[in-house]
């Protein structure tokens, strides 16, 4: 079901088919429809094909421990975390700073090794992978989005987006086409050749979102993606992520303490002192937000 808003009279028509004339004021809706179609087509083009996938849980962690050594002192950051993350869900990991959510993010993303316990991605034990396979995993299976955007400063938006494709061995023509497609998808079709410092924070994060999709990953890991953005821009990025999640079925795992994120999450995992405090479902959260509002 598509929602079409008439630009003339504001009438909202919900339809599954094609509407070219507003039933209320008879205004021409073809431009609006074309824009929506364009966007949907783009989304379908970059969408993840998960027709062959079988595992219900895309990420599983088992008794995950991480201990950091600060000189003589051992600081435990994770104390036995077991989480199962479903394919295609939008999951938020919440917790105060220092609770271990970034550490968990690093473990799941294969950026750091756990002290004890393991993490499975599509039932593959990450501890068993060598450097090459880990790089492959980071390149093909996981897309990363960071609080500080982390674009390569000397590269243009397009080059940033195509960098993971170079590593994946894609041909130059394919790369350029796909890079432009992805930037178009996140609404930066006009800014392919801008350097990061020529873009606003929100635009840089959009480039980062496009880059995370470069090799069509199964999982997008976002570490505080709205942390450095103002309210409105943060909202736009969240909406973009949600849209990607719904349209392409990519699993989104986001460490955050942005309350706007709760709204769109399927589940929220609360972490405190390196342990899972509680897991909330969408329904419960809605209720809670409702009570807060009154």
């Amino acid at each position: 079901m598509a929602r079409i808003e008439c630009p003339e009279c504001g009438h909202v028509e919900e339809t599954t088919g094609l509407v070219t004339i507003c039933p209320n004021c008879k205004a021409d809706l073809r431009t609006v429809m074309a824009e929506m179609g364009h966007r949907r087509e783009r989304l379908r083009e970059v969408a993840h094909d998960d027709s062959m996938t079988t595992h219900e849980y895309i990420v599983r962690t088992k008794d995950l421990h991480k201990i950091y050594k600060m000189g003589e002192v051992e600081v435990p950051a994770l104390k036995g975390v077991d989480v199962n993350i479903r394919r295609g869900e939008y999951l938020s990991i919440m917790g105060p700073s220092g609770s271990g959510k970034s550490t968990l993010f690093n473990m799941v993303g294969g950026l750091d090794k756990p002290s004890r316990g393991t993490c499975f991605i599509e039932e593959v034990d990450m501890a068993q992978l060598d450097a090459f396979e880990l790089a492959w995993l980071r390149c093909r299976k996981i897309g990363y989005i960071f609080q500080t955007f982390n674009l390569i400063p000397v590269m243009t938006a397009l080059e940033n987006v195509t960098l993971p494709m170079i590593f994946a061995g894609m041909s130059s023509d394919e790369m350029m086409e796909r890079g432009a497609l992805l930037l178009d998808l996140v609404g930066l079709g006009e800014r392919l050749h801008h350097k990061p410092y020529e873009l606003s924070g929100g635009q840089q994060q959009r480039v980062a979102v496009a880059r995370s999709l470069a090799n069509n990953p199964a999982i997008i890991l976002a570490d505080e993606p709205t942390g450095n953005l103002d309210l409105q821009t943060g909202k736009e990025i969240i909406d973009l992520l949600k849209e990607l999640n719904e349209e392409s079925g990519v699993t989104i795992i986001s460490a955050t303490h942005d309350l706007k994120m709760i709204d769109v999450s399927d589940r929220v995992i609360h972490i405190r002192d390196g342990q899972v405090e509680r897991i909330e479902n969408r329904a419960d959260i809605d209720l809670e937000v409702g009570t807060l509002g009154q």
Binding site: E45, A47, H48, D49, D50, S51, M52, T53, N106, G109, L111, D112, K113, E122, V124, A131, F132, E133, A135, W136, R138, C139, R140, K141, Y144, F146, T148, N150, L151, I152, P153, V154, M155, L163, P164, I166, F167, A168, G169, M170, E174, E177, R178, R211, A214, N215, N216
Partner: protein, 238 residues
């Protein structure tokens, strides 16, 4: 439909983990492009790194230019002496001592050249270490995007060779030019007396030494950069 064909190619799922596609690459052409871009975009930093090699190579080339020029002058003087019929066999008094002194001077000069090259190598290592530290976050990001350790090493080494080449070229031309001017001031016809083939060879050798030195000097920083775990590299605040 071309689009659909392309889409299928890009989105073919890689679920077969049994034979994980060993396809993580960084073609040399791309590595070179990235390195070159880094040198150009960070020209200030690159010039500081390059200055070490410029000075070292300039000194080396100036010494060699002096040698070739002096040999040219000596040959010319010997020829003109023969022309006016001086007896070649009879050594001037004190020639023995002059020769020994000349040899000692050459040894001192070699020592100075070696020292100056070593100092410039240490200088390059130092600036490369700084440049690597500055870019830890960038290195971490590249690793997140699927870069292998060797890609990072490759990028930094290419960068260093490019810098080494540019620095050596500037240094060689400067050292050669300045020393040549000094000799021309001393004896205006010196350019005609010099063996230019030999001079060119020396300049090429100087370029080679410069590039080799900057390559060697960049290995430790590049290894350090590549071996950082991505999480640690990303967490660095500079």
């Amino acid at each position: 439909m071309i689009k659909a064909e392309l889409a299928r190619k890009i989105y073919k799922s890689d679920t077969d983990w049994g034979q994980v596609q060993r396809q993580i690459t960084l073609p040399w052409r791309e590595a070179f492009r990235i390195s070159y871009r880094n040198v150009i975009m960070r020209l200030g930093r690159a010039m500081i790194t390059g200055a070490g090699i410029v000075l070292g190579i300039a000194f080396l080339t100036s010494v060699w230019t002096a040698k070739v020029a002096q040999e040219g002058i000596d040959r010319y003087e010997a020829q003109s002496a023969r022309a006016i019929g001086e007896d070649e066999g009879a050594m001037a008094p004190g020639a023995e001592e002059a020769k020994a002194e000349e040899e000692a001077r050459a040894a001192r000069q070699t020592w100075l050249v070696v020292m100056s090259l070593m100092v410039s190598a240490v200088g390059i290592t130092n600036s490369m270490l700084m440049s690597v530290t500055e870019r830890f976050r960038e290195i971490g990001t590249m690793k997140c995007l699927g870069a292998l350790d060797e890609f990072i090493v490759r990028i930094f080494l290419i960068e260093s060779i490019v810098l080494g080449f540019i620095g050596s070229l500037v240094g060689a031309l400067a050292g050669h030019g300045i020393m040549l001017l000094v000799y021309i001031a001393k004896q205006s016809g010196v350019a005609a007396m010099m063996n230019w083939g030999e001079m060119l060879l020396y300049i090429v050798i100087a370029l080679g030494i410069g590039m080799f030195l900057s390559l060697i000097a960049a290995v430790p920083p590049a290894m350090r950069a590549a071996q950082m775990p991505p999480a640690a590299a990303l967490a660095t605040e500079v």
